[in-house]
Amino acid sequence: MITPAAIVAVASSAALVILGLALILTVWRVVAGPTLPDRILALDMLTGVAIGFIAVIAVKTGFSLYIDIAISLGLVGFLATVAFARFVLSRGNIKSPPSATAAKGGGNKRRAGGKTR
């Protein structure tokens, strides 16, 4: 006989594995992301993954106070992203992002399009 607790235990273990995969991919973007806004976006996403982890742990342990921790982590993550965006804005115009030739090609194309319009 399958008990309800067994169903939830299997599902939460699977969710932990999938979230771990998502965490690895997001950390890869934080490390490799060519520009600063890419890294800021990946850090924002990392906060979302951490909230998901906390919620799954709340289900797994049955300790529902974790939900409050997740909500406050979301608040802090939102404030951090807003502060980073203000930082990017206050750093001023950066005309040569350190990324490869792809971004540069896009820039030239866009500038050319802007002239004809």
Binding site: I7, A15, L19, L41, G48, A70, I71, F78, K109, R111
Partner: protein, 110 residues
């Protein structure tokens, strides 16, 4: 019987939220541009963590905790577009270009 129903819905929400988060992470890695990555991170990522939070609220079978989880989900739904829009505007304003395969840019040049 009620326990089985709650357990099944919780399990479905857990798996769905985890897959939404994984889809957001895959989009974050695979998409070519900041402005395209923003789609996956701020839409699928928000829904993923919100569904997981909803699962945690539902599994407690307590109305106060479920209300708190729903309030958290609504809070994430309200703040994710604000922060994404702010970051995109800041990045576009400070000169981070679109990817080469973008066809048009409706914002005027600085």
């Amino acid at each position: 019987m009620m326990d089985y129903l709650v357990a099944a819905i919780t399990a479905a929400l857990l798996i769905a939220g985890a897959f939404f988060t994984l889809a957001a992470a895959i989009g974050l890695v695979r998409l070519p541009d900041l402005y395209m990555r923003m789609h996956s991170a701020s839409k699928a990522g928000t829904v993923g963590s919100g569904l997981l939070l909803l699962a945690a609220g539902l599994y407690s079978q307590d109305l106060a905790i479920l209300a708190r989880a729903i309030a958290g989900f609504v809070f994430f739904l309200l703040t994710a577009p604000v922060s994404a829009h702010l970051l995109a505007r800041a990045a576009h304003h400070s000169g981070y270009d679109l990817a080469a395969l973008s066809v048009r840019d409706d914002m005027p040049d600085r």
